[in-house]
Amino acid sequence: MAIKVKRTPRPERPPLWKRLVLGELIEGLMVTLVHNFRALREPFTVQYPDEQLPLEPRYRGVPRLRSHPETGEELCISCHQCERICPDRCIHIEDEPHPSGRGKRPRVFTIDYERCCLCGLCVEACPTKPVTSIYMSHDFELARYRRDEFKADLRELYFGKDKVVYGRRS
């Protein structure tokens, strides 16, 4: 098949009168002028953090754990599949027998947010029903003061981070 080629021609030199009145520059300035008025009418940016843009439903924030949406039971069966597929090896699970006598539940479950690359592979691996036990939350503001604060334990994974008040620490 012949390759369809398009030569990119060099523009011809504008006529003398246009060059004398700096025509090309004025042409460009017209573009910026139109944009200026448009930006005044409908600004494109928002004043973060006072205003926040809505997140899309599929947005992948840091992974968290959840319980059964109706019964509130713990969903995780401690099958270690998320731990295995995680490309960054940032999930750590230790199990204990489930109190009901059937199966297992996690005694320790930590996700190292410092290493997590928010890929979502763990969610694809999780086999629980009706929803996956591990899910990509919409949390994205992750600033913490110390490195060890990035290791999210069971409590944080279920209930989220305690509200941090930023400012000078006494």
């Binding site: 030569r7 520059l25 573009v31 910026t32 899309e56 947005y59 490309p87 890929c119």
Partner: protein
């Protein structure tokens, strides 16, 4: 102990000064360091020092399963993550001998071309910013913002998409998404035209770019340039046309080529490429067929969630793919795609294990960047900035 780069082979008596540019210089697009020998304002020698962003991706590929490595490819050419995902997935699929269904193929083309527009918009904004035209940057970044929102809706992430899977795609198209992509295509054409009006005939822009950093046709081939850098020098080569993958031969588009091979030609080529990409985006939206997204390969592709809970076989496949990965046959493959920067290829050697025995990445930006040592010589220092911009290196891909 070896001498530092700025002293190697330097002749102090010649009257030249060694000028260090980078690695954290705003116009070197990342962490590129150039050591320039200058005689007055004129560069007499240019040496590129790279490796500041080296993360050892080829070694990582030997230690991660085929699926896990997808998340790393995002971080190579981080301006067009989907292209890297697709290149890796196509290489592994070639090794496995599976082909994805048509819907996945069209979606991949659509995402790749959106990535091309996104990468070229960023290049246009920063290139113009480097050469003193700051306004263009705001217009192009506004469009990229819309693109990122579209990516976020489909993949869940704005930047590191990780949405391509070996044998298919991870997520299907959300409702109304295609219409928004079509609206974006209409809108971005207008912005490209506006940037065209701002720059293409602007006499300052012409003065800064024309006849600067000329790469001759022969040099471009000899140095192994690909992508817009090669086409700017007038060579008619595009992997999408020469070795069509993902049914690119069924799309109607042209490849732009330049005439002189200077910075201005590479600018014209990329501008035209964006327009052609928009054409492909429109055609891909029209073509988008219904049907499955994932290939029928139960040993490779994760089964759908409902099946895992009902069918024993699916559960076993799920468990094995997740915990162990899949085992492609032994062999070697090379698959290249036309990424925004040029030919991006993966050369994989497999010993039949769950990860690559050896993976060699052929990055476009790395190869294109070398030529700077030749073309910067004899140019003024401020022109080096324009040359870097026109070669469009992404250090994530150069250093890997």
């Amino acid at each position: 102990m070896s001498e530092p780069l700025e002293l190697q082979g330097a002749d102090r008596d010649e009257g030249t000064v060694v000028l260090n540019m980078g690695p954290s210089h705003p116009s070197t697009h990342g962490v590129l360091r150039l050591v320039l020998d200058v005689d007055g304002e004129v560069v007499t020698r240019c040496r590129a020092d790279i490796g500041f962003l080296h993360r050892g991706f080829e070694k990582i590929a030997e230690n991660k399963t085929w699926t896990q490595f997808i998340t790393w490819t995002d971080r190579m050419d981080y301006l067009a993550p989907v292209s890297n995902n697709v290149a890796w997935a196509l290489a592994v699929e070639k090794l496995l001998g599976i082909e994805v269904p048509e819907r996945a193929r069209v979606l991949r083309v659509l995402l790749c071309e959106m990535a091309r527009v996104s990468a070229h918009l960023l290049w246009l904004g920063t290139h113009a910013l480097d050469l003193g035209a700051a306004t263009v940057f705001f217009y192009t970044f506004q469009q990229r913002e819309i693109l990122y929102d579209l990516y976020e809706r489909l993949t869940g992430a704005r930047f590191t998409t990780s949405t391509v899977r070996i044998g298919g795609m991870a997520r299907d198209i959300p409702e109304g998404w295609l219409d928004d992509v079509r609206a974006f295509a209409d809108q971005v054409t207008k912005v490209i035209d506006e940037c065209d009006r701002l720059l293409t005939r602007n006499r300052i822009w012409l003065g800064r770019t024309q006849d600067v950093g000329i790469i001759s046709r022969e040099d471009a081939i000899a140095w192994g340039c690909t992508g817009p850098v090669l086409r700017g020098s007038g060579v008619e080569w595009d992997v999408r046309k020469a070795q069509p993958y993902l049914d690119y031969d069924q799309y109607d588009f042209e490849i732009p080529v330049g005439t002189v091979g200077d910075v201005y030609d590479r600018y014209l080529v990329r501008m035209e490429e964006m327009r052609q990409s928009v054409r492909i985006i429109r055609q891909a939206i029209e073509r988008m067929p219904d049907g499955p997204l994932n290939a029928d390969a139960p040993k490779v592709v994760l089964p759908p969630k409902e099946k895992v809970l009902t069918s024993m076989e699916a559960l076993i496949h799920h468990f094995i793919i997740v915990t162990e990965g899949f085992h492609p046959p032994e062999g070697e493959v090379y698959h290249a795609i036309e990424a925004p920067k040029g030919e991006l290829g993966f050369y994989i050697v497999s010993d039949g294990g769950p990860s690559a025995y050896r993976c060699r990445i052929r990055p476009a930006a790395f190869v294109n960047l070398q030529v700077i040592e030749k073309i910067a010589v004899g140019q003024m220092i401020p022109d080096v900035v324009g040359i870097i911009g026109s070669l469009d290196p992404v250090m994530g891909e150069v250093d890997r």
